[in-house]
Point group: C2
Chain length 421, copies 2
């Protein structure tokens, strides 16, 4: 399959490369040309006139719990612990792996509308998350959410071996849910596994002030310090949230090559706080962006998250120059790929995987076109996503999901909720 | 013209009325029936199957500067005074009334995509704002932005007399730009006018801390106290922003029946601060929502503003229960009408004006449908706006602007910017 996109504005996200007018050529799942308009005698399976719209790398949702679509608008306006203990955990106990499969498919529809081409998904049943992603064509790193309630370390190790490499779209990362849901002994065992495979660690960390305070009470250290003292960051990794980090925490994150995934919508809605993105940027700690799950956000909309990342950053610093638009786009694309350990999805360039989105400039919120990057971050909306292509497949185009019966997915989710409600 | 909407979920916004399934009938520009499915032998010009989607009152954008679409993405990441003095004022000096006409049309397209059925617009040339709104079918209260640079009081009085009543869609409000752009003598003269017409006053107020500090330095009073001391609030009115009000300010606002219009996106992006919405709610001061102008926001998207109003409110209070979803919907509809002094656009009920929007639930971000109000505020997006009807006319439906050549409007805006850039 060879596809030629022409008449496009191209935002490659290759650093310091300006936007330019030209073409992108795709063969199977790879990009074979990015550059100015060029004559080609190739035979194309499809030639797409981009009508002056933008082609750019897909957005990476670097932290989510897709299966929680079930709980959207079910339990809002609660604090984190009440929400988790009284509303979410009891219902999750009744969820089957098949439920997670169907609810993940619902989430994937929403990702496609928002230009998301890869997700980092921590949820109950990795095997059926993988099934849903493969069926729908979504690129996904499934992250272990191991904690004191399960699964066993054997299961973790088997998943690491079996899910990695099972399909070109799927990967699996070592991780634990959080410090506060794991005993020290369990963490020591996970640490052995991390060292056995030289694997980076993925974990929710420093999301709320009380989480940090309780960890200090337990161990005399912040969660970042405590995990580092155990050796859990010896091969790098990713912390989700990172709202309440100290200067010493940030020195550790920098030293250990940890990436912070910020979740501004969820942190605001749950009143957890505003992450110190400006400090991370100043100290050279890469920041990626995630939506978190649809029960705490409640949307899976990377455009809303990009806007929140910058405006909450400006509010926190009381400085309107903080977290500029280009930096936010880098977080949502290049740094997302970094946190997923996907080397070939970060930018548009020859040889990279064809994870590409088209942004519609022919809508009133994108006019006039004075600065494309600022338009996308400050006035852009997921309604501007005209196309989402993953691994060379066009999955969403002009508001249509290609080859998917959406109402069947909605019905399934509704039926599941009748049982879980 | 008689239109029947059937198979709808109806959110009337009449207080304490739950959402129900039924029909809305419109004759010319009025609603003639809202209720359960009913047999009718009437002849309909149009019967619309709502497919289980939501009908609700249109959203009111209670503070904007529509003509500033020109400056979108032109001058971001600056502080308020630099932005205003170095980037905006010099360009506005070159703007013609015809420019404002075309740029307002561009803004109206964006309002329609976001379910906005009425705006409160303060900008340079009220007459051509009126022309654009009448031509496009937008309901609008134009607000005087009088200040020490103009216009004269005679112009203000003539506009008040001529624009009010010129067309059923248009009104004009007495107002001044802000305390810091008006000398005391000018304010005293405006005060006479306010008293002559027993008119409420509309004004930007307490947007930034420095604005309040400087007013205290000048007059020994906060802007709210100072205006009240002059008598400018004797007939009520509206303050835009209200980010930095004191307890005494709020006592005055309550006593004088002032409405606060909050602009969370603009206040965050310019790092002005977070308005104390929770205090306004506690003290019974009505809050409406506005986008502010597209140069400081940069979108004209009431869905984003609704989400920001609640999540910034939760962050400010560090309380996830603050500013619940239903309260936000009331701000964006009923309270918007209150600030516009539009008695007949607040709710869906027999006899009210037909300013109605349809919200598409058949999109993944609205599934499952466990709570419609929460879906709209927490996971809703302007991409869910399926229809915008103003004064009985369907102006936007399924992504199409009815009877408008949008590319012509985009071209016009681009040409204007070549001149102003």
């Amino acid at each position: 399959m060879k596809i030629r996109f022409y008449n496009a504005k191209i935002l490659t996200m290759v650093s310091n490369q300006d936007i330019f007018e030209g073409e992108v050529w795709v063969e199977d799942n790879r990009i074979i040309y990015v550059g100015p308009t060029r004559y080609s005698k190739d035979k194309w399976d499809k030639e797409i006139d981009c009508e002056g719209n933008v082609l750019m790398p897909g957005l990476k949702n670097a932290h989510t719990h897709s299966g929680m679509t079930a709980f959207r608008s079910l339990a809002d306006d609660l604090n984190l612990q009440d929400w988790l203990n009284n509303e979410i955990f009891p219902r999750e106990a009744k969820m089957t792996s098949e439920d997670v499969y169907h609810l993940t498919k619902l989430a994937i529809l929403e990702y496609l509308t928002s230009g998301v081409t890869a997700i980092e998904d921590m949820y109950l049943t990795p095997e059926t998350i993988a099934d849903a992603c493969i069926e729908m064509g979504m690129r996904c790193e499934i992250v272990s959410g191991l904690n004191k309630f399960g699964p066993t370390l054997e299961v973790l190790e088997n998943r690491y071996k079996n899910l990695n490499g099972m399909n070109e779209l799927i990967g699996f990362k070592m991780g634990v849910h959080a410090e506060y849901t794991c005993e020290k002994e369990l963490l020591l065992k996970v640490n052995e596994m991390i060292h056995k495979y030289k694997a980076p660690l993925y974990v929710h960390m420093s999301e709320t002030k009380s989480e940090v305070d309780e960890c200090i009470e337990r161990y005399g250290m912040t969660p970042v310090e405590f995990f580092d003292s155990l050796g859990l960051f010896d091969f790098g990794g990713v912390i989700y949230h990172g709202v309440w980090t100290t200067p010493n925490d940030r020195a550790i994150l920098k030293k250990r090559n940890i990436i912070v995934v910020t979740n501004p919508g969820s942190n605001a809605k749950l009143a957890s706080g505003i992450a110190p993105l400006n400090d991370y940027l100043k100290e050279g700690i890469p920041v990626a962006i995630g939506t978190d799950g649809p029960s705490s956000n409640n949307a899976l909309d990377m455009f809303r998250e990009m806007y929140l990342a910058t405006v909450l950053g400006k509010i926190k610093e009381m400085d309107p120059t903080a977290i500029p638009a280009m930096e936010v786009l880098k977080m949502a694309t290049v740094n997302g790929s970094l946190s997923l350990e996907h080397k070939d999805t970060d930018v548009l360039a020859k040889g990279k995987l064809a994870d590409i989105i088209m942004i519609d400039l022919h809508q009133p919120n994108m006019q006039p076109v004075l600065n494309v990057a600022k338009n996308i971050v400050y006035s852009g909306c997921k309604s501007n996503v005209k196309m989402t292509m993953i691994n060379g497949e066009i999955l969403y185009y002009n508001g249509e999901f290609i080859g998917v019966d959406v109402e069947k997915i909605y019905d399934k989710a509704a039926k599941i909720m009748e049982r879980l409600k």
